[in-house]
């Protein structure tokens, strides 16, 4: 079946070509429909229950889509600079999409001054009504502005050198390139002002979104081609074949086109993670092609030992050889890689789900394209590769040989030392992994030295962090937050936040009331709240609703504290927010529901679910692979051993992350599952080869070495190509993608060490039988059923018994057993016939004829004595060889089957003894 699958493209070239065209055309058109998503929404789980609370807080207390325009100048409060600022504010107000501009030009203060009768005179005034015409009136305006404690730290720096213009933008997210347009409009305006102020820049959602989009586009256009170059270069270096370098590109490009086309049709957008899919597919997809082509070349080389062009028949034969030797492992590796990427589908974060869908689809498409397209391409162009080259020459480079010979010394001489050291290494890195922390902050996606991040820090240092969250309290009754007891609760929460000493500022209705109270009552009332509910309500009459709407609902049933901060580490933020939640819940009491919400918090809280979902995905994938491998090699041990080369790189990777301080984020969180999916590929190829070799030799160590020798080149080539390909991601504009690339590259390199050094040591201690071999075995059922060797064994056990034995083929006239030889083995004839002949001088006497199912040589198997007769093949014979020492070894690997075989051999011997006695 596998052969049929792999030769389908070869046998139906036109149909395949038509199929590829018919799929490519509509999906190619779908690419034009592909959308880009850089919204923060995709960082939040779709079913996040807190999302509703956040949305409700937004509805009640207003949008948080605010851009801060930072202006620094030591002469800020002069008539000339204020006039420029006024100009900027006016132009901002004129821009499309701008809903509101808060600046020092619409700030109002309430001021109490002692009157003639000693009673306060209350004035409410704008900080700047008419533009100051001289520096003295500008300085007066500064005094007025700084008299209001609500603005200092939020809109002005204490030293008076910095001010912020806060621009609220209408929420029209559905408009394509909206953020980019708004950002550019702001930037165009600010560009003209850069000569007028020491420093002026914008930070806010439009800029962050715009930079995400620009960086994503840049990643998309740069990383794919770079990966392609690296792939071609590495394959050329290792395999010395232009075609071997081109074929993976053809399959990858088709798979990428199909994937993005399907995404376009399904409305699944491209995000910062899926932008690296071209790189991933070019690199990962190439591994299958490399293994396939290596097998094809081997198939050609084995037929074409003499110099000369291979014939069409030889190329077709090489493709069959390829299908036979790499077909099943390749399908399995596609499946495991597919599972690795698919495991991410179970995460809650939309960003990762979309990436998981895209990558899983791409892997699947790449597998399909490879199976359909590579065989006909090799059949067409393959002759140019194998021409005139020996098998060794085909793999020209000796780097893999050097690596495996170095490893072999360690394997042969110090296997236990290697295993112990590996164990210690894993223990050390497991300990280091305990330092791992998690983060999902969108700003942490950018590198630390990026201007955006530096400017965000500047705003934080001079004013307050740009990140915002809300503490909302909701009572059952209207007017609840006119009551002083509830206002005190808000006051205590703010005091607690200040005590936590990690957040920058808090602002609530309490601050507004304290401010008015001080102005009405005098300095002695500073920092105190009004004493009665009526006074609260009457003070609040001095504010317009627009000044209060961010802090209290119109019916005074809900109140809101706005907290600004600059924490990027999700774990730290979540820790302090949890602490705050506990306090808020404790202080709010009965009848008041308290929530701590914010888009920023939702995004950061998603980090925790990111951790949990990735652990679940990893556990699920490892379990699946364990089950799959156990079934494939009909052994739980086989399943467990197959896991080792996957688990070691993951342990080391998490350890490295903990050691060097790389956080778990949406990029790095995926490395583990993807790496398992890819690293297992090499193990499957290795185990499959070893298993196959074990059928023809009882020298298991030799079989291991040979399997390693055969698999090493494609494994090392593909792993190095993968490392280099992933390494390309270091050029990404996003830290998360670069970290993903670095870790994935490191993991691929570690997997070489695990696959070629550790796995072989363990492999020599096991013996596996492939389920597919059992199923695919072609034997005469009747022969097996009638053979005394397989008495009381199930069909499955008989087939497995055959597979753990050696299979030998003899031509007619060839001697299977030679009289006088000492051999500790016995045979069972599977097909053909043989005769038993005793030589007595020149005379030869035929003692018996042997037919399929019959066993001979059983005495030698039990005891090392001379063979008493020759066994000669009358026709071509296929026979199973049961070698005593090998069977003793296999007893520990397959105790049930070997025990049954031994029991049946005893029975055969007993029969023989009885026959001898009868004849006497």
């Amino acid at each position: 079946m596998i052969e049929a699958l792999f030769t389908f493209g070869l046998n139906h070239r036109r149909l395949v070509a038509l199929l590829v065209i018919l799929i490519t055309l509509p999906l190619g058109y779908g690419v034009t429909k592909l959308e880009i998503d850089t919204s923060f929404n995709s960082l939040i789980p779709a079913d996040e229950p807190e999302k509703l609370a956040y949305q409700s807080a937004m509805d009640e207390f207003g949008s948080d889509n605010k851009t801060i325009i930072y202006v620094r100048d030591k002469n800020l409060w002069t008539a000339r600079k204020l006039a420029r600022l006024d100009h900027i504010v006016r132009e901002l107000k004129d821009l499309d999409h701008v809903y509101r501009v808060d600046s020092l030009f619409n700030l109002r203060i309430i001021k109490g001054t002692p009157g003639e009768d000693g009673q306060p005179v209350i004035s409410t005034e704008l900080v700047i009504d008419d533009l100051p015409t001289d520096d003295i009136s500008a300085a007066d305006a500064q005094l007025r502005a700084q008299a209001n404690p609500l603005y200092v730290g939020n809109l002005f720096s204490e030293d008076g050198y910095v001010t912020a213009i806060i621009v609220t933008v209408n929420d029209v997210n559905d408009q394509e390139d909206f953020s980019l347009e708004v950002y550019r409009q702001f930037e165009q305006l600010l560009e003209k002002e850069r000569d007028h102020f020491e420093r002026i820049f914008q930070v806010g959602p439009p800029r962050i979104n715009a930079e995400l989009q620009e960086s994503l586009a840049s990643d998309f256009t740069v990383l794919g081609p770079l990966s392609a170059i690296v792939l071609v270069a590495s394959i050329l270096f290792f395999m010395r074949s232009v075609l071997a370098a081109i074929i993976p590109l053809v399959t990858s490009v088709l798979a990428i086109l199909w994937t993005f086309g399907l995404m376009g049709w399904l409305g699944i957008p491209l995000n910062i993670l899926s932008a690296m899919i071209p790189s991933l597919i070019i690199v990962i997809g190439s591994t299958e092609d490399t293994h396939m082509m290596a097998a094809f070349f081997r198939g050609l080389a084995e037929q074409n030992t003499n110099e000369g062009r291979p014939t069409t028949a030889q190329r077709h034969q090489a493709i069959k050889y390829m299908a036979k030797h790499t077909g099943l492992p390749m399908l399995l590796t596609v499946l495991t890689t597919f599972l690795g990427f698919a495991a991410n589908l179970f995460g809650d974060i939309v960003l990762i789900q979309h990436f998981a869908f895209a990558s899983t689809t791409a892997i699947l498409f790449n597998g399909i394209v490879t199976v359909l397209v590579v065989p006909p391409l090799l059949a067409k162009f393959g002759r140019k590769i194998g021409e005139g080259k020996s098998a060794e020459e085909l793999y020209g480079n000796n780097l893999p040989d050097q690596i495996i010979s170095t490893f072999r010394i360690s394997q042969d001489r110090f296997p236990l030392v290697v295993l112990s050291l590996t164990g210690l290494l894993c223990a050390f890195f497991t300990y280091q992994a305990s330092n791992l922390y998690v983060t999902n902050d969108p700003l942490s996606y950018f590198p630390e030295d990026r201007e955006l991040i530096q400017e965000t820090k500047t705003i934080h240092e001079d004013l307050a962090g740009i990140k915002v969250f809300f503490v909302t309290l909701e009572a059952d009754n209207t007017n609840a937050f006119l009551q002083t007891s509830n206002l005190q609760k808000l006051n205590k929460i703010q005091a607690f936040i200040r005590k936590q000493n990690v957040f920058d500022t808090t602002l609530s209705i309490v601050d507004h009331l304290k401010y008015v109270n001080k102005e009405f009552q005098g300095d002695f009332a500073a920092d105190t709240l009004p004493q009665s509910r009526q006074l609260v309500a009457q003070y609040l009459m001095f504010f317009h609703r627009s000044e209060l709407e961010s802090y209290v609902s119109h019916d005074y049933r809900q109140a809101n504290i706005i907290v600004r901060h600059n924490i990027s580490d999700s774990h730290t933020l979540n820790q302090y927010v949890d602490e705050l939640k506990d306090f808020v819940s404790h202080i709010s009491g009965d009848g008041i529901r308290a929530r701590v919400v914010g888009e920023n918090l939702l995004v950061n809280q998603a980090a925790e679910s990111l951790m949990v979902s990735q652990i679940q995905a990893l556990a699920l994938l490892l379990t699946l692979i364990f089950v799959l491998m156990s079934i494939m090699f009909t052994s739980l041990k086989g399943g467990a051993i197959a896991m080792i080369p996957s688990v070691i790189p993951i342990v080391l990777m998490f350890g490295i992350m903990g050691l060097v301080g790389i956080p778990l984020n949406p990029g790095t969180a995926m490395v583990a599952v993807i790496a398992v999916g890819i690293a297992i590929d090499g193990t499957i190829h290795l185990l499959a080869h070893y298993n196959e070799l074990c059928r023809t030799t009882s020298d298991y160590e030799g079989a291991v070495h040979k399997a390693v020798q055969e698999v090493a080149t494609p494994l090392i080539v593909s792993s190095l190509a993968l490392s280099l390909g992933f390494g390309i991601l270091l050029f990404s504009n996003f830290t998360v993608v670069a970290q993903f690339g670095a870790l994935a590259a490191a993991t691929m390199l570690i997997s070489i060490f695990a696959n070629l050094l550790i796995t072989p040591i363990i492999m020599t201690r096991i013996r596996l039988v492939g389920l597919y071999q059992i199923i695919a075995m072609k034997v005469d059922q009747k022969v097996l059923e009638e053979s005394p060797l397989f008495t009381d064994m199930s069909n499955y056990e008989r087939r497995k018994a055959i597979l753990i034995s050696e299979i030998h083929e003899f031509s007619a006239g060839e001697k299977l057993v030679r009289q006088g030889d000492i051999g500790r083995n016995m045979y069972m004839i599977l097909s053909g016939s043989a005769k038993v002949e005793r030589r007595d001088g020149e005379a030869v006497r035929e003692l018996a004829k042997l037919r399929p199912g019959q066993v001979f040589g059983e005495v030698g198997y039990i005891r090392a004595i001379e063979r008493t007769a020759d066994v000669v093949a009358s026709t071509p014979v296929t026979a199973l060889n049961f070698e005593y020492h090998r069977m003793q070894k296999d007893l520990k690997f397959f105790p049930n089957i070997v025990a049954k075989l031994n029991f049946n051999i005893s029975g055969i011997l007993g029969e023989r003894l009885a026959d001898v006695l009868d004849s006497k």
Binding site: K93, I122, E125, D130, P530, Q538
Partner: protein, 285 residues
């Protein structure tokens, strides 16, 4: 000195609104004609509902009484007295404008104590836009001084089949092309039913409209509902006149004194357990 009070107009006999005399008037003359026709009545008592509506349509309703009285020396007194919500009951704003047009105002907050708080508009002596959380300014309350402004007539307009004279008002001495306000005066009875307020860039900031017009005497009209739409703050204030009385008896001279205000205060309620509060909360729910 003459005023165009936004909230209260009275009228004396004037040329008919459609006559050639009116048609050919310039801006200042037309505003003068409006003033003359709807001249302020000396004694007005009103019971009003003030409804504050935010951008999400949430409403807060206040009940208040408004007293106004023109004194013999040409000055005018105004008093706004809040009756509900209970928390602001008794809050009073007293304003006095002398014959030169200079205004003074003070607040009384019952919860603050028996002190009257003198209030200044701002450091320039201008009235600010938000009076007691409304979208009206104090200037809207006590009236606009005609002589303090320059009026420029624009082309007439027809809106919803109603004909209007259009007059732009500028700060006196200000040669700017951007008007402070644009008045829409109905041709049929010379009543200002719409006033657009502009910011310094000439963009529409607020729109004041008058509705439910009633002919109260001769050619004198009044609006029973006034609405101010604040486009910048996405907020609206509606003032509905529940009752209006033109009578000196309702507006005695001493009503504008601190003594009268203090002696007409309801006792303060307990903060949390007042049945009145609960009843009020129930009404709002």
């Amino acid at each position: 000195m003459r005023l165009i009070p936004a909230l209260l107009f009275l009228a004396i006999s004037l040329p008919s609104s459609g006559s050639d005399a009116v048609v050919n008037m310039n801006g200042a003359e037309l505003m003068e004609a409006v003033y003359q026709r709807h001249k302020q009545f000396p004694y007005v008592y009103e019971e009003q509902s003030m409804i504050l509506i935010d951008q999400r349509g949430n409403k807060n309703t206040r009940k208040l009484r408004r007293y106004s009285r023109v004194s013999k020396d040409g000055g005018a007194d105004f008093l706004l007295l809040f009756d509900s919500p209970l928390d602001v009951r008794g809050v009073a704003l007293i304003a006095h404008r002398d014959k030169a047009g200079v205004a003074r105002q003070s607040f009384y907050l019952p919860a603050y104590g028996s002190t009257f708080l003198e209030s200044h508009a701002d450091h320039d002596g201008q009235s600010e836009d938000h009076f007691l959380g409304t979208d009206f300014s104090i200037e809207n309350l006590i009236g606009e001084m005609l002589d303090h402004h320059r009026h420029l007539r624009r082309d007439d307009e027809v809106i919803n089949e109603t004909e209007f004279y259009v007059i732009d008002t500028f700060e006196s001495g200000d040669e700017s092309l951007v008007p402070l306000r644009r008045h829409y005066v109905r041709k049929d009875h010379l009543f200002v039913t719409r006033t657009d307020h502009f910011d310094e860039l000439g963009r529409l900031k607020k729109r004041q409209t008058h509705h439910d017009l009633v002919n109260v005497h001769g050619e004198m009209w009044r609006a029973n509902m006034m609405m101010m739409d604040n486009f910048q703050q996405a907020h609206r204030t509606v003032i509905k006149i529940d009752r209006r009385v033109f009578s000196a008896d309702y507006v005695p001279e001493d009503v504008f004194t601190r003594k009268w205000i203090l002696s007409n205060q309801a006792p303060l309620s307990d903060e949390d357990d007042s049945e009145a509060y609960l009843a009020e909360a129930g009404d709002e729910l």
